[in-house]
Symmetry: D2
Subunit: 346 residues, 4 copies
C-alpha cells in the first residue's frame, strides 16, 4: 500500500529533488504536482526547467501541473511536500492544512511557531505529538510539519548525540562553509564565488541559533520548550557545489574526552524509516575529513559526517558535514513524511 502524495512548488530546485526522491520511493506515489498559475494546465515536462542530473521520470513528465490551491489537488492525496519560497509558503500552506492535507514543508515560514513541530526524525520525532495541540488550536483537519534549514540539520544531530550520551550542552559556536546549491540554482553567480568566499548569508545565522534550540527542546505534553544551550553562528558561502561543512566548538557541563564524543556520535541511534541511514553519524578518524566532495554522499546523502574531534581551549571542537539538498532539504521533507505515515498522522 503506497500513499498518494503531492509536491507543492514542483518546478523549483527543491521540488525537482523531491520528485527525484519520491518517484522510486516504495511507500509513496506521486499523484499531484502544483506550481504557479502560469504553469497550471501544462505537462510537467513543458514547464519545469529540469536541472537534476538524472532524467525526468517518464510518468512525471506527462503529469498535468495544477495551481497551488486546495481545490486543485485531489482529495485522495493526503500528504503534500512543500518547497515553496517562504513568502508563498506563508500564504498557501494554511489553506491546505485547513482543507485536511498533511503538509511536510521545507519552507522557512512558520518554523519557529510554538505549535508547529520542527522535526529531524532521528532527533526529535516525538515533537510530532504537538500536532494534537496544533489541530485543536487551529481547528485543522490537516497538519503542518517543518524540517529545519540545511545548515541547522548539519550540526544538530551531533549535538543530539551528545545530549543522548548525557553530556550537558552549555555553549555552541559554529562556523559554516556552505555550498552554492543551498542558495538555489541561480542564487550565487559565478562572478561572486570563483576564487572567493562570502562571509554572510542573509538571516542564516539566526536560523542556526534558534532552530537548534527548538530541535533539542522538549515537548511536555502541552508546549514545546527550547533547549537552554546558547548558540552563536557565523555563516560563509564557499565555491563548493554540494555539502555544508561546519566547525563546531562546544562547552559542556561535563568534561568529555574526544574519545567519549566520538563514541557518542557513533552510537547515536538511527531509525528504521526508509530514508534513515545506518549509522546516522559517520565518524572519521582522519582529521582532514569530512570534506564536501568526498563525504557528502555518505549514507546516500542522508547521513551526517563528523571528524576532527579534539580537545579545544574551552571544551571540545569538531567538524561535521551533510549534503544540503538531500539530508538538508528534499530528503529532510521526505523523511518527515515517512515519519508522519509511520506515526499515523497520514
Amino acid at each position: 500500500m503506497t500513499v498518494r502524495v503531492g509536491v507543492l512548488g514542483a518546478t523549483g530546485a527543491v521540488g525537482q529533488r523531491l520528485i527525484q526522491l519520491l518517484e522510486p520511493h516504495p511507500e509513496f506515489e506521486i499523484a499531484a504536482l502544483t506550481a504557479s498559475d502560469e504553469s497550471a494546465g501544462h505537462p510537467y515536462r513543458d514547464v519545469a526547467k529540469w536541472r537534476i542530473d538524472t532524467p525526468i521520470p517518464e510518468e512525471v513528465g506527462e503529469m498535468t501541473v495544477t495551481a497551488t490551491t486546495p481545490e486543485a489537488v485531489p482529495d485522495d492525496v493526503p500528504l503534500l511536500f512543500s518547497s515553496l519560497p517562504s513568502t508563498v509558503g506563508a500564504k498557501v500552506e494554511t489553506p491546505f492544512c485547513e482543507a485536511g492535507y498533511v503538509v511536510s514543508s521545507n519552507s522557512s515560514n512558520a518554523r519557529m511557531e510554538s505549535d508547529v513541530p520542527l522535526v529531524i526524525p532521528e532527533v526529535n520525532g516525538d515533537h510530532l505529538e504537538a500536532l494534537e495541540i496544533q489541530r485543536e488550536e487551529r481547528g485543522w483537519d490537516g497538519a503542518l510539519v517543518k524540517n529545519p534549514n540545511c545548515s541547522t540539520i548539519t550540526f544538530v544531530p551531533t549535538l543530539a548525540a551528545l545530549a543522548e550520551a548525557g553530556i550537558g550542552l552549555e555553549t555552541v559556536h559554529v562556523a559554516t562553509l556552505q555550498a552554492v546549491s543551498g542558495a538555489g540554482y541561480d542564487g550565487v553567480t559565478s562572478m561572486e564565488i570563483i576564487d572567493n568566499a562570502i562571509p554572510h548569508i542573509g538571516s542564516e545565522e539566526a536560523k542556526l541559533e534558534t532552530e537548534s534550540r527548538k530541535l533539542l527542546g522538549e515537548f511536555d505534553g502541552t508546549a514545546l520548550a527550547d533547549h537552554e544551550m546558547e548558540v552563536a553562528a557565523s555563516c560563509n558561502r564557499i565555491p563548493t557545489i554540494d555539502g555544508h561543512l561546519e566547525n563546531v566548538w562546544i562547552e559542556t557541563s561535563e568534561d568529555p574526552s574526544p574519545e567519549e564524543v566520538r563514541e557518542a556520535f557513533a552510537e547515536y541511534p538511527s531509525l528504521s524509516l526508509h530514508s534513515s541511514p545506518e549509522p546516522l553519524i559517520h565518524v572519521f578518524e582522519d582529521p582532514e575529513r569530512p570534506q564536501p566532495r568526498l563525504d557528502r554522499t555518505v549514507g546516500d546523502g542522508m547521513a551526517i559526517a563528523a571528524g576532527g574531534v579534539r580537545e579545544s581551549t574551552f571544551g571540545i571542537q569538531y567538524n561535521c558535514l551533510a549534503h544540503n539538498t538531500l539530508r538538508g532539504a528534499a530528503g529532510a521533507s521526505v523523511l518527515n513524511g515517512e515519519l508522519l505515515v509511520e506515526e499515523g498522522y497520514v
Copy 2:
C-alpha cells in the same frame, strides 16, 4: 642611503615574493641571495623556478646564488630576510645571528622562544626591546626577529585595536578560511581542493592560539608575558588563490557596541614605515565584505580588511581578511626589517 640586504632561501615561493618587494624598495638593496648547495654558484635566473606574475628583476636574475652559510654572505650585508623551511631555519638562523647578522624571519621555528621577539610593527613593535636580552643571553652580535604565521597576522591587529580602545579581551573563537597559496606553490593539489574544502591544516590552530597571546603580551623590560585572553581556532583550506578570511567571536570584560568596535578598528593607528598602510584596518559597512578576491589587495596587500561587525550571542562577532603572502608572509618580514632599521638595530 640604502641598507644592503640578503635573502636566505631566495629560490622558494616566499623568497621570490621577498625579491619582488625588495627590488623596488627605496630603503633596501638586494646584495645577497642564498639557496641550497646545489644552487650555489649559479645565476639566480638559472636556479629559481620563478612563479611571480611580474618578471624576474634584470639585475637579480644575474646575481650569483651562494650557499646558506655565514661565510658565503658578504660582511657588509647587515640585514637578512629568511624564508626557509622551519627545519632548515632552525639549523641555519643561529649561525647567522652569531656571526653578527640581523635576521628578519618568516620561518616558524623559534617563534615562541621567550627571548625572540615575534613582531607585527603596528601592534607590538616595542617587543624589539627584548633583543637586548637576546643578545646578552645568547652572546650574539646579530639578532633574530620573527613575524607570525599568516593566519595569525590576519586577526591579531583587530584584537590589538580593541585592546588599544580599552576593551578587555577574555575569549576568542576564530574559524579560518585559508587560501591555497598559504601552503606554498605545490602545497595543495587541485584534486584535493576543487569543489571542496579541507577542515584541517597541520599545527595551524596552535599557531593562532599561542602566537596571538604572545603578540598582545607585554615586555616589562626583562621578559615577554603572554596576554591572558584564551583563544580557540579552527582552520580550513578553501579553493581561493590568495587571502585568508576569518570569522571571529570575542567575549570581553566590557560590552562594546558594534559601532564602538568599528570605531576601534578604524582609529587604530598605523606607522609611518614604508610598507605600513594607512589605515591599517579597512572597515566595511557591507556585511558581505570583506571577500578574498575583492579585498585582498586593500592597502597594496598590507592592510587588514574587517567587516560584518555585529552583536553575537556571547559578545561581538566580525570577519577579517588579509593577503596571506603579502601582509601574512613576505611583506611581514620586510616590514619588520624596516622597523629594525628605524629602531637602530641594523
Copy 3:
C-alpha cells in the same frame, strides 16, 4: 583640451568598466550618464549596483543620471560610449547619430552592416573612412562605430599580424575557452560552471566567423569587402573570472616557420593612442603560456598574449589570450573613441 563624453547604459557591467577607464583618462571628461527611465533623475551612486573592485569615482557618484534619449544628453557632449543590450542599442543608437552624436559602441547590433565600421584601431583604423559613406547614405551628422565581440578581438590581431607580414590566410579553426565575466555579472551561475565547462555560447561562434572577415577586409573608398579566409569557431565557457584563451590553427598560402610567425606577432606595430599597448602582441616562448590568470593583464589588459606557436598537421597552430572586459569590451570602445578624436571625426 579634453573631450566631453557620455556613457549610454552607464549602470551596466560594461558601463561601469567604461566609467573606470574614462574617469582618469587624460583626453576625456565624463559629462553625461544615461540609463533606463527608472534610473533617470537620480544620482549615479544611488542607481548603479557598483561591482568594480575600485570605488565609484567621487564626482561620478554624484552625477545625475538621465534617460537614454538625445534630448536628455547635453549638446556639448560630442562623443558617446554605448554598452547597451543589443536590443536596446538597435533602437536608440540611430536617434543619437541622427542628432549629431558620434557613438562608439560595444553593443553587438549593427556590427555587420556594410556602412558601419567595425574597428580595432591597430588592425583596421582606416575603416573609419567608411563613415563618409555612412553619413551620406543615412543623412547623419553623427556617426556610429562598433568594436567587435570580445572573443573576436582576442584572435584577430594575430591574424592581422600574419597578413601584415605577407602571409596569405586561407583557413582558420579557433576554439575558445571563455571567462564567465564575458556573460555579464549574472550571466553564468555558479551551479552551472564550478567543476564544469559548457561547450556552447549562443551566437558567439557566428560572431568570430563573420566579424573576423570584416575586420581583415578592405575599404576601397566605396565599400567594405570581407577578407576571403574561411573561419570555423567552437566556443566554450570555463570557470575563469577574466581572460579569453583561444586555440588557433591556420592554413596559409605560404609555409611560414613557427619562428616567422613569432616574429610577425612581435613586430606587428601598435599605435600611439593613449590606450594602445606597446607591443600590441606579447609573445611567450614557454608553451604553457599564455594563461588567463597570469597573463590577462599584460599591457594593462589591452595587449594580446600569444604563445605555443608550433607546426601543425595542416600549417601552424598557436594560442592567444586577451582580457575580455578590457581589450575585449570597455577598453575597445574607449580606444575607438581615441581614434575617432585623433582622426577628426569628433
Copy 4:
C-alpha cells in the same frame, strides 16, 4: 569461473581505480598486487595512500604487495593490468610477457609499436589478431595489449561511428578541455589551475594525432596500417575534476547532414562485454551538452557523450566527452581484459 588477475603498480592513482573496478567484477578475482621494492612485503593497506571515495575493499587491504617482477607474481594469475609510469612500464612489461603473462596496459610506452595492438574493444577489437604476429616475432608466451590515452579514447569512438556509417574521414581538428585527474593526483597544483587554464599538456597532442590513426586503421592479417585521415590536436587543462571535453571539426569525402551524423553516433553498436555500455555513444540534442560535471558518468562512466552536432564552415563540428579515469584509463584496461578473455587470449 573467474579469472585470477593482478595489478602492476597497484598503489598508484590508476592502480587504485583498477582495484575499485576489479574487486566487484564478476569475471575477475584480484590475486596479485605489485608495487615498488619498498612496498613489497607489506599489506596493501599500509603502503597505498588510498584516495578513491569508496573504502579500500577489506580483502584487498590485507593482501601482501609483491615486487613488480615475474618471479614475484604467482604463475596461476594469467592476466595482469598495468598502470605503471611509462618509463617503468617500458622496462618491466616485456619480462612479464616473456614469462607468459597477458598484460592489459594503460601505460603509454609501446603504444605505437607495430605489433602491439592498441585497442578500444567497441572500435577495433579485431586488432587483437596482431597478437599472433607479436608472439611469433617476439617469442612470447604472453601478450601485450594497450589502451589509448584518455584524450584519444574520448573522440575516437565518434570517428569510428562515422566510418562505420560510410562517411570518409579526411581531416580532423580537435581541441581538448581536460580534467585535472588526467595528470594524476599530484599532477596539477591548485595554484596552477584555480581561475585559470593551461594551453599545453606535454606530448598529449601527438598522442591524439597518432593513436587515433592507428585505432581506425586496419589489420590485414600481417600488419596494422594507419587510417589515412589527418588529425591536428590542441590540448588544454581546465579546472574540472573528471571528464575530458573535446571540440571536434571534421572534413569528409561525403557531405553528411548533422542529422546523419547524430544517427551514426546513436546507432554505433556497443559490445556485450561486462563493462561496455549500451549505447556506446549517448547523443544530446541540447547544444549546451555534454558538460563534464553533468555527463561524465553516463553509462557508469564508460559511455561517450556527444552533442552540439552542427554544420561547420568546413564540414561538421560537434563536441564529445568521456570520463578520463574510467572510460579513459582504468576502465579501458579492464574492458580490454574482458575482450582478451572472451577472445581466448587468456
